[in-house]
């Protein structure tokens, strides 16, 4: 036995351990990694299990959207905004349309405002469902994934019935929306909202008291309120730190000032609080949709501004002037736009989505800058990760809810 011990050097291990020099190890994570939610690459310098430095590298999905939009007229840009945050295409469309409407000085009819608010909140639920599904999957709760996709399917079928597309919808138009909603569709959505609060309780029953979930999320990735403001974080991430900053409340657009809803906030600013904030947002979005369906007025769905907006199809077929407008808009696009610049922020599911448009008076934007929430949130990732464990990187990435299509543009 002693021989064997000597051979294996077992007794010497503890004394040897003190002599072994430790050094920092650099490991690469991504860009092809299932838990980075897209092509995000992190270079982690670790000391044992602890992260000393975390450097994110982005740009693997850069397609030059901002450059590209300078070559297109205002109407052609809408499908490109779909491909920013492709999980919540509707919110991007609406953000862009509101920016252009403010630039043109177009007033959107009330019914269209209501429809936009409904679909924007549907998108928020869709986006948060995907976030919850993947975030829970990353941390190890598989069942939630299947549950969430069940509800996503129902909402996506409703979107498909509305505009023919499930993901890249391009449904809003400058001045309104493409197609009116019918009573049957609204009934279908109302039935969903009746059922959905029970579903939220099911998700919570699965993970809210789960000890693994709590241990993995509580006290992880803490960011203080002052830092959250200073870093320009927005959406559920800043609200998780206790700042009730919501663009829908601070600078209302659509009909958010006509319905009753609350801004949920957290206290500690950790992964768990950000999870709680999003779970509450499910309920608020659900309630907003219900109120909008109850209140939706009848009326037109497109504004009347023939220089920028396509006229109704039936007048095109009977009226010469409308036919000319239609022809010019389709073949050449809008010819003029007011000269000026405008920054419009909207609350996308991920956070503050801003469009800064510089117009030089032609039908194309001189400069279109997109302020993506994911880009800002990833820049805060080193702050969240440094000093924590390697396994917590996954929880942190999940909790800031990023989409690389929007970050890289």
């Amino acid at each position: 036995m002693k021989d064997l011990n000597n051979k294996l050097n077992i007794s010497n291990i503890s004394s040897q351990k003190a002599r072994i020099a430790t050094r920092e190890l650099t490991i690469n994570m991504g860009p092809q990694h299932p838990a980075t939610h897209g092509v995000l690459r992190l270079v982690l310098e670790i000391d044992g299990e602890t992260i000393v430095r975390c450097t994110p590298y982005v740009g693997y999905l850069h397609r030059g959207v901002e450059k590209h939009t300078e070559q297109l007229n205002y109407l052609q840009i809408i499908p490109h905004t779909d491909r920013l945050d492709y999980i919540s295409a509707m919110a991007n469309n609406i953000g862009y349309c509101i920016a252009v409407e403010r630039l043109f000085g177009i007033e959107v009819p009330e019914r269209a405002q209501y429809i936009r608010t409904i679909v924007a909140e549907m998108t928020r639920i869709l986006s948060h469902l995907l976030w919850l599904a993947t975030h829970a999957l990353d941390i190890g709760a598989m069942t939630v994934f299947l549950y969430c996709f069940r509800e996503r399917e129902k909402l996506q079928q409703l979107l498909e019935r509305l505009c023919g597309a499930r993901l890249t919808v391009s449904y809003p138009r400058i001045g309104g929306v493409k197609k009116d909603v019918d009573a049957q569709w609204l009934e279908g959505l109302y039935a969903f909202t009746e059922e959905f609060p029970m579903r939220i309780e099911q998700y919570e029953a699965l993970i809210d008291k789960n000890r693994i979930w709590l241990r993995r999320t509580k006290g992880v990735g803490i960011i203080s309120p002052e830092e959250a403001i200073n870093m320009g974080l927005s959406g559920p991430v800043i609200r998780g730190s206790g700042i009730p900053y919501d663009v829908r409340r601070f600078m209302p657009y659509g009909v958010y000032d006509k319905v009753r809803w609350e801004v949920p906030t957290g206290k500690n600013g950790d992964v768990y609080d950000r999870y709680r904030v999003r779970m509450e947002e499910f309920r608020q979005s659900n309630s907003i949709i219900r109120q909008c369906i109850e209140k939706i007025p009848s009326g037109p769905i497109m504004a009347d501004a023939p220089k920028f907006i396509l006229p109704p199809k039936d007048t095109v077929l009977t009226n010469m002037e409308q036919l000319i407008h239609h022809f010019v808009l389709i073949t050449k696009g809008p010819q003029t736009a007011p000269e000026g610049e405008i920054y419009v922020a909207t609350e996308a599911p991920k956070g503050e989505l801003g469009f800064y448009i510089v117009s030089d008076g032609t039908g194309k934007p001189y400069r279109l800058r997109i302020r993506p929430p994911s880009f800002v949130h990833i820049s805060a990732l080193p702050k969240l990760c440094e000093g924590s464990l390697v396994a917590d990187v996954i929880a942190n990435i999940g909790s800031i809810d990023i989409v690389m299509g929007e970050c890289d543009r």
Partner: protein, 183 residues
């Protein structure tokens, strides 16, 4: 506070720096000289009545052909306390597109400034880590400048692409991902 009042206050405090105040659709932009940008931002951030605590956005704009100042760096500021917004635009000449960084006032400016450098070649003096961010590190030119071509000359490709192609050929030799699969 009304944005025009903020602009007035800024003009009073920095009479030499403010060049122009413009209003469009209720939004106010203040055009300034670039030299004292840090002081101006510090003032907007710290002054209790103004308190622009939140940097919504920072980006560049290229006005090719404009006399004197070709570039602009645009700061979209917002106050979470007072809920008002203002836009500050700093003018940069073509031969020296550089400006002081504001990362020590808003940490969130870090990546925005890197992106502006990446896309416009505007140098932010004192930035802790000014590297390209969205484009590869060996990329030539600054794509969002107006004189950057949208399509390259015939047959032009990014030089890093050679490497990617070689890798692919290597893979094909070993029949990984190639047309023929090993039987």
């Amino acid at each position: 506070m009304e944005p025009l009042v903020i602009a007035e206050k800024l003009k009073e405090r920095f009479p030499q720096e403010v060049l122009d105040v413009a209003e469009f659709r209720g939004q106010v932009s203040v055009t300034i000289k670039k030299d004292r940008i840090k002081e101006i931002c510090r003032y907007l951030h710290d002054e209790p009545d103004i308190k622009m605590s939140y940097l919504s956005d920072l980006c560049g704009v290229d006005y090719l052909g404009r006399r004197g100042f070709r570039f602009e760096v645009v700061y979209n500021l917002y106050s979470l306390t007072h809920r008002h917004r203002i836009r500050v635009k700093a003018l940069l000449p073509e031969d020296d597109p550089s400006i002081n960084t504001v990362t020590d006032i808003w940490k969130g400016a870090n990546w925005h400034e890197r992106e502006t450098y990446d896309m416009f070649g505007i140098v932010f003096k004192g930035h802790p880590d000014l590297r390209r961010i969205l484009l590869p590190e060996d990329w030539e030119g600054f794509p969002l400048r107006k004189d950057y071509p949208v399509t390259g000359p015939e047959g032009w490709e990014w030089k890093g692409y050679e490497e990617v192609k070689k890798l692919h050929e290597h893979d094909r030799e070993w029949r990984i991902g190639g047309d023929e699969r090993p039987k």
